[in-house]
Point group: D2
Chain length 338, copies 4
């Protein structure tokens, strides 16, 4: 079977795994207060050009989104605005609401938020009978495989400044967002434009782990209390520092993202050449071809992937996901099948 | 000024107020364990034909919706489906989410839910990465002034039974829902078709108070704990029993609803005769005429009401609300102004 | 039966009830945005000498404690310190914890907190593996019928200032605390020494209602959102303004407290003269005589009261509660029985 | 420095690490739905003799306690009784309260709960003004290094059955509890006597991870939703299955616990022989000698450990913790220093 189902099923990149093995028998302080977490935090502050940011390491994406948003939405009546395809809206089992906060869902054509959409929500919330929207959640790249350009992020930042909103960015696939064709973002843009964001490890080469970067000073205090309270403070916290040092240290992170994107590009080009269309334009490592149902039925016998909820009488859309571990042979083999 | 802004600004109907004055200097047990609450509960069970139902009295609508839904959504991952115009979705400051539960918002043409809309939500929620919809919230009459017919409620009940869902009905304006033209519902239909519902007092003649009726045995245990924990157990609980006895005792409740509807009907007929249209067909005590902007600007100098978010280049929709205290003189006076 | 079971079973003082009846058929804005609430707030600011305080009206004590503390404990890891006999610790069904916050219980000899007790808690909470105590909850008078002197309150204030803590005072029985023998507090002391407090109506002459006074500027923003979200914003909000105007307007409030205390004093003196002791020294309207079991068994046939959990082989403590409605005849009749 | 500060600072036992390395480049389904988790679950069910139990893998102790108790305390007014030294009471930053539930703290002489203590709590909780205690939390071995005997656990079980309570056991150090001198428990006793419990990995040889075992059928449904909602469903879930297979598979788990206990025993014997006493009798891998302050000040220059809050004028108690990685050389070296 060719595996194109997701980008989190492989273990860690060998360099990351080696680092874990090498440090396995060391004795360090627990709960993230060890030299590895300290160095990984330093490395991230350097790379992203944000010397004053706080960096915290957590074990997974839902945990990071939940902990960060529950911490940043300081008051119980504050809500967060998200595209209704956003990960927090659909795929986290109500984790945000479980902390007591409402998500203001916004319908979007492609999974990306715009200032106009945000302001349409704000106008509607006029007094204390409504929640008070105070944060924006975006993911980059999005759950639809798209990226925000620098101009789009700047526009969102300006909208946030104008309206007193916080901008939080879910970077589960930041490595892909930074290295795909059409991307004009660099590491430095994230702390420049966001109040907080996370650098995704799980889908980009780590065994597990995400690095939460808090730029806005008001959001920094006592974050370790909040991570602990939500069960996110890993006892052997250095495991996360060790991994992020290995990932971020010598350009590995972007290399892995670039590889995943390159594999998706070959796939997308090949599929297009065979005359098939895409329900969302291919941009990063998630692509969504619309295939004839007869073909799709054959394909699923030899390829692992998920379907996408766009169906016509004759066609079915599917989601193909490449990762740092996808090989060109696998991609070519899939193209043979089409 | 003619007051058509809402149906909760007057105090209590004089008969209700008299009952409160008469019993004022009595000494009874507190927290709803007094003879008045007992008798009012008995009266409600009789009128609604549900001898085994539990009846609890709370002070307001948001409190009742929040307490009931948080109690009925037994597990943290259970969610409630509501029209996105539903009171719990927009006008309760995230009160449901504040208890940790997600609301699944549904866009509707007119504020009413249908089985098809519900099943569209259910299909989408396929596994543990999503919340689990377990209850349906409807209001009758709705925030858009419409009612559910008996057939519509039966269809919702069947949909709930088929899918293992609870049906909860917000009866803030139950008196109006039961007495408007086109209504084929009686008291008995509510316990027959709902797992739980509340009989609205605040908007139908009480000084304050709502009666929560729990029909489904599984939802009954320990409800007093939950009301107390959410701050809803009134120390002088008998105030609620006294009021509901006065309201329900001799047909007063339906009389007051019928009066409000009759005033709205006269208004609607008069407005239609003058050639204006309605953005939602008039049915109960909330009507939504679309008026020329020039007329609307004059009107607001002499009438208190709220605008409704439907605007054209030349027209503005408004919301007119009649109540048990609205007089025919006021209504005629308004029609004069148009 | 002589009723000495609690101080919240009677309805409203006649002057309060009259005010409600007189204003019953008025039409005002809802949710506390009416002239009566405005005037009652002004009156309270004047009487308490806190021209910049915010005043909000809620319907009951548990609701007020829950809403206020959940609002003031700005962050999820902040906790509140309370005597373990405090109302929020035992008699509110976990209402504080239901908002996600821990209460740090403190064992006390008599229900009163001291700076030493508070600092013993603080020392123990050393890092992010513990909650962070940020507020102090006291009631005055206490659930044990005692009062804080001005010096004691000043000491608590200084302890709070030194340690960055908020001081919140539950004034369910403020009328009694201010008018008992030994009290050296005046209205002005409350805003001077507390960050926020509430003036109890339910137990001191109102039909229902409490006035939450927020002195600390940092605690003021958006309080109406929080009250609404917890179901505490009464639709016919003026009912609360009307009552507090009547209560506070001409000294009635203190008069009612003084009456309750006077009745308790007569009782206590009479009981002492008959040679019985008290498990807590009588000070306000809650007194706790220790009676021979044989006498207690006779008494309960003719008097309604609650027992108190102090028992010896031969004696049983009971709690006698007087109110603004207790008459000297009742008190004398009880003394006859002993 | 000799490290006796805690038992979670080393990485994984080499056999566990090898298993992770070997399976690193496999592609399996995510979120615990892989063959490794399935097999590890099967292995646990076999070893513990509970063929119908559900087994879930989570990443840490606080996360497991929080997720499990919030799931098992089905209703918002249900509370859990714990010794006030219990991990959930003090060292989890209010994680249980953050889910809305109260912990009933019980003072104990040594960190262990007895039926009598539990019943003293129950008697006090008489109606809906109090929370309703519904679960018991114990840890075995305890935070004080002690164990429950089989008879003690049976007595707790009987107390739970009699009073309708759930028994939940935190087995963060289960390996030590089962292998210390005086222990008469076997794997089979846990499902026999508890409604649910967890097998600690983090402190007993795993890189990270705990195995939650649910025995009581009523607690099983939808647990995966709850784990996901609290951020505990690890994307690469097989990491946990792989580790627990390695740990439980060939007796490694008990071997590691026995080693830690043996090291502590040598330490305790040596310290006793030098004439020092213990503030809690040594039983497992946590021991608490009371040392002269002068000696303690010397010791801390060469040994890493934590102090324990028992101090006299001349002596200071300390906590020494051994682990599966502690060597006999380290232990002998420490004894040399005393």
């Amino acid at each position: 079977m060719i595996f194109l189902k997701n980008d989190y099923s492989l273990g860690a990149h060998p360099k990351v795994m080696d680092a874990l093995v090498e440090t396995n028998m060391e004795l360090t302080d627990g709960y993230g207060e060890d030299p590895y977490c300290a160095k990984a935090g330093e490395l991230i502050r350097d790379l992203f050009g944000c010397p004053d940011a706080d960096v915290h390491f957590l074990t997974g994406g839902t945990q990071t989104n939940q902990t960060a948003l529950a911490a940043f939405l300081l008051r119980p009546h504050w809500s967060v605005i998200s595209a209704d395809t956003g990960h927090i809206c659909v795929h986290e089992t109500g984790a945000i609401e479980a902390t007591g906060h409402k998500i203001n869902h916004v319908a979007t054509p492609d999974g990306k938020l715009t200032p106009r959409m945000i302001e349409d929500v704000l106008i509607f919330h006029e007094d204390e009978h409504y929640v008070l929207p105070k944060a924006i959640y975006i993911s980059n790249s999005t759950e639809t495989g798209l990226i925000y350009t620098k101009d789009e992020l700047i526009a969102l930042r300006e909208c946030c400044d104008k309206n007193g909103l916080l901008l939080y960015l879910d970077g589960a696939r930041m490595a892909m967002a930074l290295t795909c064709g059409g991307s004009d973002l660099t590491y430095e843009d994230f702390p420049e434009l966001c109040d907080a964001f996370y650098i995704g490890g799980t889908k980009c080469g780590a065994l597990f782990g995400e690095a939460l970067v808090i730029v806005n000073d008001e959001l920094k205090p006592d974050m370790r209390f909040l991570i602990k309270q939500r069960g996110g403070l890993l006892a052997k916290g250095r495991l996360l520092g060790v991994q992020f040092q290995a990932l971020m240290g010598d350009g590995l992170y972007l290399e892995l993202g670039a590889h995943a994107n390159r594999m998706a590009e070959i796939l997308a080009k090949g599929i297009a050449e065979k005359g098939y269309e895409f329900v969302i334009p291919p941009q990063t490592n998630l692509i969504f071809p619309l295939l004839p149902k007869t073909l799709e039925e054959e394909l699923r016998k030899k390829v692992m992937y998920e379907t996408w909820p766009v169906v016509t009488e004759t066609h079915q859309a599917i989601r193909l996901v490449t990762s740092w571990g996808t090989t060109e042979e696998e991609v070519r083999a899939l193209l043979e099948l089409i």
